[in-house]
């Protein structure tokens, strides 16, 4: 099953990325290096910024929610889980355009939109981790005079670190592979997210080979994050 749904397609795209006109070649990776190296850096930057924004927003909120349960806020925080990527891209484009023209199309706009979309997933994972921290630790911290912010920073985050690392890897990988939001928000010029380039190579040129090479680069980037996660698990 794993072979059919994962190994086979990955193997097929690996083979395609190293071939052209029936010959083995590195030319597709040459094209990626020549035309899309900047986009690889851009994609990494946007995904890193988006992940950082997601955590910057979710950690204090989830810390606060751990201290005092407040259903409506928890519900609102999880709403982005159920909003499709395309809708997020379109809604934020329409919402930002009159007030902050140009923001939506910038790298920060794309990172912010990605962060908004991933708030729900981050909250789901983080709240579970924070709630797994024994109440006695929080009691002790509070009795020593710590407020919600201090408890979050000095108790919840360090104790929930393994779960936070898993969340970070999942969110970062998802952002690396984002397509709809950059497509809806982005411009036709300048650096692009990698999935836009994959779509362009395949859609406009029918160039499966370079598209596959771009796909393999994306696997490697996501795998780098996953390796960090696995090393943490096996430590």
């Amino acid at each position: 099953m794993l072979g059919a749904v994962f190994l086979w397609p990955v193997g097929a795209s690996l083979v395609a990325s190293f071939s052209r006109d029936g010959q083995w070649t590195l030319a597709n990776y040459g094209t990626v290096w020549r035309l899309y190296a900047r986009d690889v850096a851009y994609t990494l930057g946007v995904a890193a910024a988006g992940s950082a924004l997601t955590f910057a927003a979710t950690i204090p909120l989830c810390g606060w929610l751990r201290a005092r349960s407040f259903g409506p806020l928890e519900f609102l925080l999880k709403v982005p889980l159920f909003v499709p990527f395309v809708v997020v891209g379109h809604a934020l484009r329409v919402f930002w355009s009159p007030y902050v023209p140009g923001f939506g199309t910038s790298w920060l706009g794309i990172a912010t939109a990605l962060a908004w979309k991933h708030l729900g997933l981050a909250a789901l994972l983080m709240l579970g981790a924070f709630r797994g921290v024994d109440e006695s630790f929080l009691e002790a911290a509070r009795q020593l005079g710590s407020g919600a912010a201090r408890v979050t920073r000095d108790v919840l985050v360090p104790m929930a670190m393994p779960a936070l690392a898993v969340s970070a890897v999942l969110i970062f990988s998802s952002m690396l592979a984002s397509f709809s939001i950059p497509l809806m928000l982005g411009r036709g010029s300048g650096a692009q997210m990698l999935m836009i380039d994959v779509y362009y190579r395949f859609g406009q040129h029918g160039d499966f080979e370079t598209a596959s090479a771009l796909g393999v680069v994306s696997y490697l980037l996501a795998m780098g994050a996953a390796l960090v996660h696995v090393r943490r698990l096996t430590r």
């Binding site: 035309l35 900047r38 199309t105 411009r187 036709g188 010029s189 395949f202 859609g203 406009q204 029918g206």
Partner: protein, 378 residues
């Protein structure tokens, strides 16, 4: 008893059978929802009135080149798997994909079987991207790339690319197009720019292919990079129309049919008018094709033949949707109303079309130009 049971079973089976055997015709449309809709609600019922035992199954695969590639991928997969018959009978695909399918032997050469075969004429039904497509394709309609402008902001639209470049210099960030990654209108504008700058239109569209022309192409694209500094690059065809409608830009590169559709839907300022500067911009047909191993090939040819009928072209293609006819305009245009004619040719006259409609370049040159764009403009 046994005889009675057999009679009962036979009667039951007869009831379960449809009154008449229906032939299913699978039509795949690689175009906007309005093109899918015209097949479902206008052309389909019209064809069914002539051929009652046909059952049309119209499916849209999306917009832009990727939509055509989806159809190509499906047919190619069936061909590679050796499966027959194939499950698409008629497809509407882009010029680029149709030419590739002809090259790979995936299409039937069917035009000669049509009653309206003589109406299928023009350079683009003979050759597309350097591939001989004669007999394999029938344009459903033609779509012209043009420059739309706000008459209240632009008193005299540029008549040439020189005037356009001067206008952009004088009015920075008031002209927009979608680059080469946001749709074919931007690709078409880039091709028009290269035709103008290099003066190589004949060679780029007719050949021979000469890698030595790369220098001239690079020079033209370098000039485009400088031009782009005063231009808004939108995120797609719809993005340009949207920016035009909201007044963010005063001129932009559009498909004429999308401009007309947006006006008809009340989404576009009716004053916005298309123009076609010299030496011109590409016209891009969408081709009706019949896959080589289509299950209902004869019926598929009849359906395309029906769409190519001048009366159908006049009513369904030109009057209802504002597209330019796919087949001989001399036979179709006399059949449309004066009002439709005025709408169709507002801003871009038949003479403009005759002089300034340009073909897309040969595939090799197309790839050289888009590669140069990616390398230089970025």
């Amino acid at each position: 008893m046994l005889v009675q049971l057999a009679a009962l079973l036979a009667a039951g089976l007869a009831l379960a059978q449809p009154a008449m055997a229906q032939t299913r015709l699978n039509v795949a449309i690689a175009a906007d929802v309005n093109v899918v809709e015209v097949n479902k609600s206008v052309l389909g019922p019209g064809f069914k009135a002539l051929v009652p035992d046909v059952d049309l199954n119209v499916v849209g695969t999306g917009t832009g080149e990727p939509a055509s590639r989806t159809i190509y991928t499906k047919i190619k997969a069936q061909a590679d798997a050796g499966r027959k018959p194939w499950d698409i009978d008629v497809a509407l695909v882009s010029m680029a994909v149709a030419s590739q399918m002809v090259k790979e032997g995936l299409l039937a050469r069917y035009v000669a079987q049509m009653k309206n075969a003589a109406l299928v004429k023009g350079a683009e039904v003979k050759e597309a991207f350097g591939v001989n497509v004669d007999g394999y394709v029938v344009p459903m309609f033609h779509n012209q790339i043009a420059i739309a402008y706000h008459p209240s902001k632009v008193a005299a639209p540029p008549k040439t690319f020189e005037e356009l470049a001067a206008w952009v210099k004088a009015n920075p960030n008031r002209f927009g197009y979608n680059g080469i990654k946001g749709g074919v209108s931007g690709v078409g504008f880039t091709m028009g720019w290269v035709y103008w700058k290099t003066g190589l239109y004949q060679q780029l569209t007719q050949g021979p292919v000469d890698k030595g022309k790369d220098g001239a192409i690079h020079e033209a694209i370098t000039a485009l990079r400088d031009f782009n500094k005063g231009v808004v690059i939108t995120n797609g065809n719809a993005g340009t129309l949207d920016a035009l409608n909201r007044g963010e830009i005063w001129m932009g590169v559009v498909w004429i049919d999308q401009l007309v559709a947006w006006k008809n839907e009340g989404r576009m300022d009716p004053a916005v008018t298309p123009s076609l500067p010299a030496p011109g911009l590409p016209i891009y047909p969408l081709y009706l094709v019949v896959p080589r191993e289509a299950a209902s090939r004869d019926l598929a040819v009849r359906y395309v033949d029906y769409i190519a009928t001048p009366e159908v072209q006049a009513k369904a293609i030109v009057e209802k949707f504002g597209w330019y006819p796919g087949v001989d305009p001399d036979r179709v245009l006399p059949l449309i109303s004066a009002k439709s004619r005025e709408l169709l040719f507002k801003g871009v006259s038949p003479q403009d079309l005759a002089r300034y409609s340009r073909q897309m370049p040969l595939k090799e040159y197309h790839d050289m130009i888009t590669l140069a764009y990616e390398e230089i403009v970025r």
